[in-house]
Amino acid sequence: MTLLEAALRAVAALAAFLVLPLLVGQAEHKVMAHMQGRLGPMYAGGFHGWAQLVADGVKFLQKEDVTPAAADRWVFRLAPAVALVPYLLALALVPVHPGLAAVDVPGSVLLVLAATSVGALGTLMAGWSSANKYSLIGGLRAAAQLVSYELPLVLAVASVALAGGSLSLVALADAWSPWWLLWQLPGAVVFLVAGAAELQRPPFDMPVADAELVMGAWTEYTGLRFAFFLLAEYAGIVVVSLLFAVLWLGGWHGPVPDALGWLWTLLKGLAVALVVVWVRVAWPRLREDQLQRLAWLWLVPLALAQLVLTGTGVVLGW
């Protein structure tokens, strides 16, 4: 790989990282508004408020960057970066086109899962260093939630890796066949639920439950650092949606020619992201104990059963 190609890939990944989360965020603004009988943003940018998130970003830029006096200064200031950067890495690893990812490594499945787990560490750092009881409770809830939901998430992905016989996302997407839609369905459900929980999105937003914890671990953050946490959340939606589209929906497999494979993958990912938004609008937040119950009594056994099913299928040569 030449230096130029590496630079091009890095720029492409960065561009996707800056554009796709905004796209999902704007879609959430509008879809959520219409699901609640509203119109959503209508002014920024002229046409149906398309530039609302750009305007929000400019607003965040202008705000004062406050660090609480009692906060653990360096950890506090570093936390947004720890939350944001891993998703950049994860997004760079996800292939969107036949055989094409910004970073193509043999064990990309493992790397993606590891990166997304690190991102959650940022929330914990923010909660611990803020010197605020709401932040601390939010951070600890986030930690408890991540411990619970990491397991079903990994098990569900392991099932696909077993079915495809590879740890590379590109190879797994190539090995995909429509039969997986049924065969891997329980794992898909587990991944979607656990993914939404991993992102701390409603109905799994116990760590940032604003009625109880103000804004959870993000309570003390202002300005650009707060915006980074929000960007990390939406980048997380993009990563989880694209991962779901690649592993369970077949990525670029579709009725369109291979040249448009990237479009097909992105469309599938957008559809998954819309489901994540839809669920957020429709369902109330789970209580902390219900959250743990769902993970350990339903998702983990379901994921294990899927693993057994996949193993049987692989041995019998389905």
Binding site: Q36, G37, L39, V279
Partner: protein, 211 residues
């Protein structure tokens, strides 16, 4: 045990989420259905609201009708109407006649920071000089700017809607009835009494003799 007594001790059946679908799916269906319908949002600054015909937006003044009688100012519960006037002498129309005096309105102002939109001034005006207008966009950044003089009050006359139509079988309005009454014919110099009998006299009844 009768039906009536049993209900008190047993929990009523929980019907939430019933109707064929679990609650979570019902929630998804509801939000999806709402998303398919037009939004309820009123885009106010871009689209004017459709107000009911008798909206109480602002009080408009028809200056020509005002006689400075002060009835409105005196009836106003919070004294928000300011009226200044002076008398002018009108020369006699015919030589030897008497000079008349009439009121001339100098100032008519309503302080909308005090007005409580009760409408008593409009009800009480005997000369139809005050009207409700549905116009409501006259907010100010300084409360003192809400004192509006007669020029501004007169501008709002253009926004006063026409009075609502009468009901189908309502009586004619008094003005119309007066205008439609046949003009009084001038009395003829002679023989007029014979043409029209006095109203107090009972008309003579002519009966034919049956025999």
């Amino acid at each position: 045990m009768s039906e009536k007594h049993r209900g008190r001790h047993e929990q009523p059946k929980d019907t939430r989420g019933s109707g064929g679908l679990p609650g979570v799916l019902k929630g998804l269906a509801t939000t999806a259905r709402t998303a398919m319908r037009p939004a309820h949002t009123a885009e106010y600054p871009d689209v004017a609201p459709s107000l009911p015909p008798r909206s109480r937006g602002v009080i408009a003044l028809l200056e020509e009708n005002c006689t400075s009688c002060m009835l409105c100012a005196r009836e106003c519960p919070d004294w928000c109407i300011h009226i200044d006037s002076h008398k002018e002498t009108v020369p006699a129309p015919t030589p030897g006649g008497r000079e008349r005096q009439r009121n001339v309105l100098d100032r008519f102002a309503i302080d909308f920071s005090l007005c409580m939109y009760c409408g008593i001034c409009i009800e009480v005006c005997p000369f139809d000089a005050l009207f409700w207008s549905p116009q409501f966009e006259y907010a100010e950044t300084d409360i003192r700017d809400l004192l509006h003089e007669k020029e501004r009050l007169g501008e709002w006359m253009a926004t006063v809607p026409p009075p609502p139509a009468l009901d189908d079988k309502a009586a004619e309005p008094a003005e119309v009835a007066a205008a439609n009454r046949p003009a009084r014919t001038p009395r003829a110099p002679g023989g007029a009494a014979a043409a029209r009998p006095p109203r107090t006299v009972r008309p003579k009844v002519v009966r034919e003799d049956p025999t």
